[in-house]
């Protein structure tokens, strides 16, 4: 064992958006020993009595992935792009290193599950009965490297499904039912949404956000504009909107009018002059604790932040149309941008200089925590295995003493529960696992089930251009029907049939097989490819205690660390939504004269039969729910500040905290409550540093 010596105030596991946000916000604050308070760097002045917060981050990915000086970051990123060019299957993980020491779940590894045998081809061990269909990436910056960047907020009712619709879910291994309301309301989260939208740099037009909510836009957003102007909608969007405007679809629950909404997105457009100056997120001390506020900085205009290596590259989305899996110019937000702000601070001469109080140790796979029962069950150590190189699987066992530190797990919704479940300790009452007195660690795994429908528009709509999606149909995001079946959101996809049908490659192959060549081949392909449209139905999944991540000593990775073992299934509530969504799709296709090419077959890895009809779905990459927050310690892993109920110095952050999924992509919401958790972390740090 080789404990890392110098003491740290905060240990963060993972450099994804959750970990990077916390690192950024904490490193912006210092401890003013005179006042006994944490203050923002800008307000600290030049007192001798300022103490910096020392932060250590562990990252499972390669060293190169977190070297963020201009030259190194450009070299690494360009290597990702070259890999992407060469990979035949351009799936989300395709540009990034495939590490045996820190494997990433990959959609290509997903197989049919023939029970009782699990699919263990990739990193996940999947017991099913249905395969979990989403992936994530373990490199510096995490999964935002290949996310799409769609950033709608959740709706007020999403936070209170029990109160509003009476939805309850079973308790683990019991017939008793429990509520699924969040411990915070939309109202409480709203200021933090603004902070998250600032940090991510969201482009959008508030006045065009139309949702099936009873609140008015002014109440939902307040007097607010997004930092940047709306990302232009695609030509295809306009054609579809033209054809559907003012119409509605009829579902089993009644008529639902169609609302086509330009999606807010984490990609650069033109900074909105109305947004004003750039902002700072800073903590204001309160009588007890801290409140974060989004303060206008008098210093600078708001600017779009381009690539990590050159801020003038990627200032606008250039229409590379490869947001998933990689944006070549980093016009799309990724967490490396926030991580770089944590690592580099302005010095007195307004130059960026390396923050010496922050350290990131890469190639370090955290696998276990130790708990000190004699010290109010504090986390006393974080254990990790540091591998030597990409090629070799030798590793050095390390641990760090955390008895005087705050530990933050930000390793994503597969890894956080995996680490917690692997942290066993013996108490007089028996063997326990970390943060798990509620028995909720690893449970309630959720994703949006992405049912796709695709067809040919009667005239060319010229897909395969622009960001992945620029418009969504928001009509089905909320309504009384949620008592009966899932809500969903329907993004329109700008990339043709790429996802469901591997177009355009499959179209080329098809017409060649049909013996077409020359001008005729060219015509056929032009016709087919320029008319392709794809609709998504991202269906909300309710928390279900049996959908879960567990571990099992039988399944270890090459470093001897347990792999996530997944149990996953769908309920009638979600399957009924698929039926209803397909019905909605059929009606919209008919109205638009779209020739339907949708086909769900038994060969699809993820498919279910409901009322005698087959439906297939994909994962959305929205890995959610495995360490839910709640208002009661017996029913949740953390409180609303992501602090575990069981350990006074342990926070767990990320989409895993989400109590329910709603119909929005999760990252903006996880960012909002992760930012909010900093208030509690600062309060804990104050106590810690006063000692």
């Amino acid at each position: 064992m080789n404990p890392t010596h110098n003491k740290k105030d905060v240990i963060i596991v993972g450099t994804g958006i959750a970990g990077s946000l916390i690192a950024k916000l904490l490193s912006d604050h210092v401890f003013d020993a005179t006042k006994g308070k944490m203050v923002h760097r800008a307000d600290a002045g030049k007192s001798d009595n300022i103490r910096e917060i020392s932060i250590l981050m562990y990252e499972a990915g390669l060293e190169a992935g977190i070297e963020l000086d201009s030259v190194s970051s450009m070299t690494t990123y360009n290597e990702y792009i070259r890999t992407f060019y060469r990979e035949e299957a351009k799936v989300p993980n395709s540009p990034y290193p495939n590490l045996k020491q820190a494997p990433s779940p990959n959609v290509l590894d997903m197989e049919h599950i023939v029970q009782p045998y699990p699919d263990k081809k990739g990193y996940l061990v999947q017991f099913g009965p249905m395969p979990f269909a989403s992936d994530a990436i373990r490199v510096g910056g995490g999964t935002t490297l290949h996310w799409l960047g769609t950033t709608p907020r959740m709706l007020p009712n999403d936070f209170k499904l029990t109160e509003k619709y009476g939805i309850k879910i079973p308790k683990p291994d019991s017939d008793e039912k429990t509520a699924v309301d969040w411990p915070i309301s939309y109202e409480e989260l709203r200021p933090y949404y603004e902070m998250a939208e600032f940090e991510i740099g969201v482009s959008g037009d508030v006045s065009r956000q139309e949702y099936p909510i009873t609140e008015k836009t002014e109440e939902y957003y307040g007097n607010y504009v997004f930092p940047m102007e709306e990302i232009p909608q695609s030509y295809m969007d306009h054609k579809i909107i033209e054809g559907l405007k003012g119409t509605s679809v009829k579902l089993s629950s009644g008529e639902i009018p169609l609302m086509m909404v330009p999606s807010p997105q984490g990609r650069n457009s033109i900074p909105n002059p109305k947004y004003g100056k750039t902002k700072v997120i800073k903590a204001e001390p309160k009588d007890s604790g801290y409140k974060l506020v989004l303060d206008s900085s008098e210093k600078e205009e708001y600017k779009a932040l381009g690539s990590v290596w050159n801020p003038y590259m990627g200032e606008r989305c250039e229409g590379n149309a490869s947001c998933v899996p990689i944006c070549p110019v980093q016009a799309k937000y990724n967490a490396l941008k926030t991580l770089k702000k944590a690592l580099y601070k302005m010095n007195d001469n307004d130059n960026l200089s390396r923050n010496l109080f922050m350290q990131i140790q890469a190639q370090s796979v955290v696998y276990k925590l130790s708990i000190d029962q004699n010290d109010s069950h504090k986390i006393s150590k974080v254990h990790l295995r540091k591998y030597i190189s990409k090629e070799k699987t030798d590793f050095v066992e390390e641990s760090i003493d955390t008895s005087d530190a705050i530990v933050i797990l930000a390793a994503n919704a597969f890894e956080n529960p995996k680490i917690l479940l692997n942290s066993k300790y013996t108490t007089p009452e028996g063997v326990k696992t970390a943060a798990n007195s509620s028995d909720q660690v690893g449970r309630n795994l959720m994703d949006h089930m992405v049912m796709l429908t695709w067809g040919l528009f009667p005239e060319p709509v010229y897909p395969y251009r622009g960001p992945g999606s620029t418009t969504n149909i928001s009509s089905f995001r909320d309504g009384e029907f949620r008592k009966d079946f899932s809500a969903w959101i329907s993004p329109l996809d700008n990339w043709g049939w790429g996802w469901p049908a591997f177009s355009p490659g499959s179209d080329v192959a098809y017409f060649i097989k049909e013996k077409h060549f020359g001008a005729e081949l060219r015509e056929k392909l032009t016709d087919r490819l320029s008319k392709q449209v794809l609709f998504h139905f991202e269906i909300e999944q309710l928390p279900n205690p049996n959908n879960r991540v567990t571990i099992n000593d039988e399944y270890l990775d090459v470093l001897g660390i347990p792999r996530p073992v997944i149990h996953y299934e769908l309920t009638e509530y979600e399957m009924k939504a698929m039926e209803q969504a397909k019905d909605a799709s059929d009606q919209m296709f008919k109205r638009l004269n779209i020739t339907d090419f949708t086909k769900y077959t038994a060969e699809d890895k993820n498919s279910v039969i409901y009322n005698g009809v087959r439906y297939s779905y994909n994962g959305a990459g929205h890995i959610v729910g495995t360490h839910r927050m709640g208002s009661k310690a017996e029913e949740s892993v953390t409180d609303s500040y992501c602090k575990t109920w069981d350990h006074p110095n342990l926070y767990v952050v990320g989409a895993g905290n989400m109590t329910t999924l709603g119909t929005s992509n999760p990252t903006l919401t996880l960012s909002a409550f992760t930012i909010r958790s900093v208030e509690s972390i600062l309060a804990d740090l104050e106590i810690q540093l006063k000692k």
């Binding site: 060019y85 035949e88 250039e318 229409g319 149309a321 897909p463 395969y464 251009r465 490659g505 032009t526």
Partner: protein, 148 residues
Amino acid sequence: MNIINKILNVDDYYFDVFMSISEALTGFTVNELQSTGLAETYYTYVLKCLEAATFVEFLTVSKNILESSSGEEELKKAIQSEIIAHPGMNDISGKVITMWYLGTWEGAYINDLSYKEGLVWNLMHSHPPGAKQPGYKSWNIKPVNTQS
């Protein structure tokens, strides 16, 4: 006559045959094909991947077709009967078309450039994802080259 040596010499007429038959098979002109910057790379690549005799046979058949057909219709018919209807020739022609259209040979990209220069993107008035980006807001309107 040692044909293999002649083929390896890129200046020789077999290269021209390859380009001309590629034009007839893909529906893109020799000029358009040349502008990918990959013509010679593809030619030598195919030579490396196929058994020399097979490629020579394909080129010889192609040469005969090209020389003996006067006019497009005739050429089309000849290709149909002598290449498309013939399983072995058809297999090669499919591979050659795919190479030009997508930049791949048996599923693998030939090099970075071949991904970027896949002609399928031109044909649908788009561009390869992650390269040759058209610029902010370009997706909001009809592609420029469809207006004419």
